[in-house]
Amino acid sequence: MNEKLSSLFDNELESHEIDELLIQSSKQKKNNNWSYYQLIRDVLQKNHLGSDNLTKNIMNAIEKEPTQLGGFGRPKDNPSESKSNYWPIAASFAALFVIGLTALNFNEFKSVDSVVLVEADIPTDLINDHYASASSNVNLFIQASYKK
């Protein structure tokens, strides 16, 4: 599933696969993964429009985290163990990086101001789609040729 989501954002899926994937993702409520993949895609493709203060914000977020990095033992005594002990740090940084990016992305999304609906905002498709389902003889004939 995750692999397919990734392929979707890399434009590597066929049309029928996209439909199937979109249904599956809605069903499994993968909304969180969805936004991560979108975000990763945007960053990789250098399309991310996030804040310039990304690093600063991440560092601030790290600073606010309680320091719980004790218990590393003695690296020299047991090199293999010490190597594995760095994984929690790496994982924490990775998690913070994703959380930071997501938070920024989320804030950016949330802060979008709504605008008052005006006639120019109404897509022709919206009216046509309604007419395609609502009963009216005239609608049948204006559906294909409706112009606002």
Binding site: D121, F141, A144
Partner: protein, 316 residues
């Protein structure tokens, strides 16, 4: 002789009593049946929004299946061929004829639902006077809404066959929203279906859109609908993928048996600003709300209160 007169008087009074005791809604039932069972041909004028069309209609029932052909008589040529549950619409746009397969809809004069119980609870029926429509004597019938969530419907039903000859939809201040009226109509006795075919113009390009308009991806709702106006039920659901954006747009259609409203749920794309508010576009109200990253829009020829109610009904 005296006994005979008394018997006739008794018979007449019993008929009158039985007529007056008859359920007034039977008149609507009869009209609904007439639209399905009668074979007829006629021309009606239909006005919706700023569009006015003259349409020729031929209707026949053969082996319990309905056959309908409609031709637009003015403006750009157009035709509808309906057999059973499928409708084919032929719309001429310049040198092209676009053929679309559509879902069955209730079209004039067959505008009543098969089960009228749904409208009985939300409309008051009153019988008006007799009037002539398309040269035929008709009975005027008004369906007035019991609340502010729907418009009123005026019908003129043929006295002889109960077929609806005219329909007017009015808002609460009497402004006409939609009206359709036969200008000529006659019953046909010929059972032949030779007329049931499209008129082909060899000079035009015929473009067949084999996807049924209104048929979409399977329903997978991730929302809940709360507190919609009473009497409205979901009658259709359409999901479309928006080309290029890889997002799904959902359309839910609700009806109380006569009125229709669509509710659109579409995720906002990056950089798109959510729209909020309401506006009146011709006979349609459009109400926009924003919820959890989704743009919600309600569209329909319904009162503003209904439109707002639907746009606020979605929760994630």
């Amino acid at each position: 002789m005296c006994y005979r007169l008394l018997f006739i008087c008794f018979l007449f009074s019993s008929i009158s009593t039985s007529y007056s005791n008859e359920d007034p809604w039977l008149i609507i039932n009869k009209a609904a049946q007439a639209t399905k069972l009668l074979d007829y041909k006629g021309v009606f004028h239909s006005q919706h929004d700023e569009e006015i069309k003259s349409i020729e209609i031929t209707h026949a029932t053969n082996n319990d299946q309905e056959f309908i052909k409609m031709n637009v008589l003015d403006g750009s040529p157009g035709a509808v061929l309906s057999q059973g549950k499928t409708i084919y619409v032929y719309n001429t746009i310049e040198d092209n004829v676009i053929i679309q397969k559509r879902k069955q809809q209730r079209l004039f004069p067959a505008i009543f639902p098969s089960n009228i119980d749904s409208i009985k609870n939300f409309y008051r029926l009153s019988i008006g006077k007799n009037e002539r429509i398309a040269g035929r004597l008709s009975q005027s019938v008004v369906l007035s809404p019991i609340d502010s969530f729907r418009y009123s419907y005026h019908f003129w039903l043929d006295k002889k066959t109960s077929l609806p000859l005219k329909m007017v939809v009015e808002d609460h201040v009497g402004k006409i929203i939609e009206q359709t009226s036969f200008t000529q109509i006659s019953m046909i006795k010929d059972k032949s279906l030779d007329w049931f075919k499209p008129e082909v113009d060899p000079l035009k390009n015929y473009i067949f859109n084999d996807k049924i308009v209104g048929q979409g991806i399977a329903k997978e709702p991730f929302w809940t609908i709360k507190k919609i106006p009473p009497g409205y039920k979901e009658v259709d659901f359409i999901t479309k993928r928006i080309p290029g954006l890889n997002i799904l747009s959902h359309q839910l259609v609700f009806s109380d048996g006569l009125s229709y409203i669509s509710l659109f749920i579409k995720p906002l794309t990056r950089g798109q600003k959510p729209k909020v508010g309401q506006l009146n576009l011709g006979v349609n109200y459009i109400c926009a709300r924003y919820r959890n990253g989704y743009q919600i829009m309600a569209v329909g020829s319904v009162p503003l209160s209904t439109c707002n109610n639907f746009s606020e009904s979605i929760e994630f």
